[in-house]
Symmetry: C2
Subunit: 617 residues, 2 copies
């Protein structure tokens, strides 16, 4: 039986989620896509995740009483890592509590503007009033301009227009530079209109954010389903499609560029700006998505040894991708580490500040492919694991993505309690619930470490009645009933089957094996890890204890050392838009990260087999 959920609204984001009472504010916020800073790992001591709550606030915890005065507590001040949901509520999130503020570059941009960052953004404007040519000062137009703003490259088309442009404006206007390229000379002073768009190119979801390059501020955010999903759910199906006929790649490329162009349209409408004032786009995605964006044949990514075309970051003309922004706007695509460790992982390393960690730290991006990066003793190593799409709901009988109608959380506390996204009747379950159910089944010993789900005739004694009736046979195999047909939005029961749990074993085991091998190569044990940084939209929804219970994350790591990082791919794309230093760092990180091909590792098969076994309690 579904328990009533309560609405929690986050401001100024304007996002509402429905969660079970007792849910931590931090977790509810993650569900709303609002990722809060927690440098202390959620121990309640740093005070960084402060929010203001109105409505169903819980009583303050001892930690909160240490941090806040009585007046503040009365005014609704709480720590998101400590406080929970005790009723419908609104949570005000100050800018300073958002995770983004955590990164030094973003923090500095916020405080002082991007111009103070080392290098500043690649795109810079400068209003100039040049002295008019005279017989005593007959410098060439280009030299006159360079003497004012420094050396630049210029393309032929702009050079052809420059003499007329300068004379029409009486030699007063705004230079627009992109790196060392002059990309425009605009009439009047347009310094206030300097925009860029950062895009996270997910296999499933595209997210784009409009940035004010002077401040680094986000002016608008939009997201949509990656339209390439009609050609297949995972990257391999996209690579396969790219190889089908002469138009396969073009179809994929146009699908993505048209979607991005449409998102740019939404962003400029939302912010009330002109497309021509967008001078740069930055893209972060897995290697295949990035190659398709650039229309670089990805077929070699589909064959052993999975070789990317590029490697380092690419600078392209936006017009070549058919994107309608400034006519000489440029595109920066993040560098990649390997065929399955792409720009999104580089963005993640960059955005989480992984290399600034004091001790060995792991970065894990859990998705169709789990990307894992270990930073230890100054060295970076990275691997990808073919986790399969189980966490994204594919190959699971009633699996689905984390969208409306998905059971996203399951708690068994004598009886089953579920949380459904959108507060509607459930139609399936998403990856986080899959982990929850498996963890609870292991706790109640309905699931063996080897992944065998007990059948109704073999239940242990003293099992709570609510669970007894949920252990069923479904199409002849053992299954666990999450919602009977009377509660289901589909009119049919929603179950998790023996087969589904096998898929989870494979997915979880692959990531766990990857983690263990990277640690082993560095001579480390899980307990040596100072932190585990979890990235990706899906990562935000995982219950840490349950992920550890099923062995997806190493169990020997204290709970507070596992930290959600939000959409680090987008955060990295944003960083490289506002900071040339970040761009140089991204190139350096990609270059210095050792790419570990797990399949060639002698111990991989054995480690993988072991990792598929769920840990003993």
């Amino acid at each position: 039986m579904r328990e009533a959920e309560v609405a929690v609204t986050f401001q100024p984001q304007g996002k509402t989620v429905y969660v079970l009472e007792g849910t931590r504010l931090m977790e509810a916020a993650a569900g709303a896509g609002v990722v809060l800073d927690q440098p202390c790992g959620g121990a309640g001591v740093c005070g960084k995740c402060r929010v203001t709550v109105s409505g169903g606030a819980c009583e303050p915890t001892p930690a909160e009483r240490e941090v806040f005065s009585a007046e503040q507590l009365d005014a609704g001040f709480r720590l998101a890592c400590q406080s929970s949901v005790c009723g419908p509520m609104t949570v005000e999130v100050p800018q300073t509590s958002l995770l983004a503020a955590h990164h030094k570059i973003l923090a500095r941009a916020k405080e002082e503007g991007t111009a103070q960052l080392a290098g500043g953004p690649a795109v810079r404007k400068q209003y100039v009033e040049l002295p008019l040519p005279t017989r005593g000062d007959d410098r060439p137009d280009l030299v006159r301009l360079e003497d004012a703003v420094g050396h630049f490259e210029i393309d032929l088309e702009l050079l052809r227009n420059l003499p007329a442009r300068l004379r029409e404006t009486d030699f007063c206007g705004t230079t627009v530079m992109s790196d060392h390229h002059l990309i425009d000379f605009e009439p009047g002073n347009t310094e206030a209109e300097t925009f860029a768009v950062a895009v996270d190119l997910g296999t499933t979801t595209l997210v784009a954010v409009l940035l004010d390059l002077r401040t680094g501020d986000e002016l608008a955010v939009v997201s949509r389903l990656n339209p390439q999903t009609r050609f297949g759910d995972d990257v391999l199906s996209r690579i396969l499609h790219a190889g089908q006929g002469p138009d396969g790649l073009a179809e994929l490329h146009e699908a993505i560029t048209e979607a991005v162009d449409a998102m740019i349209g939404e962003l400029v409408t939302a912010a009330g700006i002109r497309r021509e004032r967008i001078y740069e786009l930055t893209f972060s995605g897995n290697t295949t998505m990035q190659q398709i964006l650039c229309r670089i044949d990805p077929r070699s990514l589909g064959e052993v040894p999975f070789v990317p075309a590029g490697g380092r970051g690419l600078l392209l003309e936006a017009a070549r991708l058919g994107l309608q922004v400034h006519r000489r706007a440029r595109v920066y695509v993040l560098p990649v580490i390997g065929g399955f460790v792409g720009g999104d992982t580089v963005a993640g390393i960059l955005a989480t500040g992984l290399t600034e960690a004091a001790g060995p730290t792991l970065f894990v991006d859990i998705g169709t492919n789990g990307e894992i990066v270990l930073f230890a003793e100054g060295k970076l190593s990275a691997a990808s694991t073919a986790a399969g799409p189980a966490f994204e709901g594919a190959r699971i009988s009633h699996g689905m993505r984390g969208s409306s109608g998905a059971i996203e959380k399951v708690v068994v506390d004598g009886r089953l309690r579920t949380n459904v996204i959108g507060d509607v009747a459930p139609v399936g379950l998403c990856g986080s619930a899959l982990i929850d159910v498996a963890a609870e089944l292991l706790r109640y010993k309905l699931l063996t470490p080897r992944g065998h789900l007990l059948t109704p005739d073999k239940l242990p004694n003293q099992l709570p009645a609510d669970l007894v009736k949920r252990v069923v046979l479904h199409d002849g195999q053992a299954a666990f009933l999450l919602a009977p047909e009377t509660e289901s939005g589909t009119g049919k029961p929603i179950v998790l089957t023996q087969h589904d749990l096998r898929e989870l074993q494979l997915a979880s085991g692959a990531i766990r094996a990857g983690i263990l091998i990277l640690l082993q190569r560095a001579g480390l044990e899980p307990a040596d890890l100072e932190g585990v940084l979890i990235a990706g939209g899906f990562g935000n929804f995982i219950r840490r204890s349950n992920a550890q219970r099923i062995g997806l994350l190493p169990s020997k790591i204290e709970h507070h050392r596992i930290r959600y990082q939000g959409n680090t791919s987008l955060a990295g794309a944003r960083l490289v838009a506002i900071s040339q230093e970040a761009r140089r760092m991204a190139e350096d990180l990609a270059h210095r990260t050792e790419h570990v091909d797990l399949s060639t590792h002698a111990d991989f098969q054995m480690t993988f087999a072991d990792a598929m076994i769920f840990p003993q309690d």
Copy 2:
């Protein structure tokens, strides 16, 4: 009466000219476009201009007897600066005697190949056999290639093709780099086919040379009339046309690019190579020609203060100019110094090694605009003078360019002797004859220093009979008869009129005034000059003594210090094709040369007025 001329053929150039007996070999060679080296200034001591003569050789001079053995003299060895034409002859010119060998960079390229030059050519090829990708070596394609040949930029189109190209060739092929850009990866080893084209963009004449970039060798040379001449003879008429209607500039641009493309066709046919193996084109011309080539509106070059668009050298894509060579071939256009001191002058400074001169040296390019550069005490200053088109035959009653039928040399030795280009009946006279006639008229006092040509009724006593009959009235003004209608190819007499001599005064005076002002600004007198380097096709034909007699060149300079340099614009374009160091030098030379606007100089009008007066004997 025309004197018989004799044919002199130069080998291996295969060029034949017809000259009067007694003509110096050096001068005959210049007339054939064969410019010989003369580091000693024609004093007969350095032995650099040695040639081998068969046919009408003159007796050896004492200087030649010093340099050569009796056997060598018998075998026809002569010094071109000493020996003259005593009958029809063939002259073999060793490579080492050509002026081109004078420049250090060309000399080194000749001896050791271009790869030994600092920086080498911008275009370089390297055949590579890359290790095939394996699971243990899954470097991105780009990284694999860069690890073999070093870092490069790459455009999107080539990057898109690269993965397929590498796999089709089993990762063996030839990289083609242009500066830091990878512009192709060609199947097989194509290192032997690395070509460029250097072009001299003259207002009147276009010259293009095909270069082997490995050796710097010239493989073929072609020239043709600049088709823009149909829009006007001088740069101002071209600028005017560019401003007429929306298509004016496009017409001029297409005329020049179509002509260059046709010349490329001739070059590849002559050398038996493929257009796609030409990876670079270098262009040298005056500022207007260069801007029109790039389709940059030249209108600001036609208005005070005559401002060029660019300044520094430009790197463009050949495809953007519609030139059919390698699809990613690049174009380098030389930097300019001012609106009327263009890339051709920079090329001249570079090619003549002006800045390596031990003492104050002048570079003079005599044409429609006389460009003058002074190098003194480490400093370069440059000026242009609106000499007008008199030296090119325009605005002179029977003036014409130095082509077939032009009287190009006039000697008065009691009677008039003329030399006609092509050994045909004369149809006009060109600039060098104009100077000759004026000098002779001054010597015989038929012309006063103020430029007054005596009328038939005021002739001095004792004037040779052949001259007496040549002083005539033509359309009511005093004139000098060069060819009566019975000898003329037009059936009408060929004369030089009082008006023509006024035009000459203006042209010569402008250049002389420019020279004097540049010298004066540097605190120098003409006698302080260590050398005067004469450039331009026309320059080769000028008789030094006559140019000094009329005051075009300062009279206080010893004869042997005036040296012909041939087509220095083309030589400079060739240098920047084969040497990146030369390209850097060109940029530096353009940057450091002070541009002197003569018209703003306080003394210019007075100096110009004085300079129009022919020197006293």
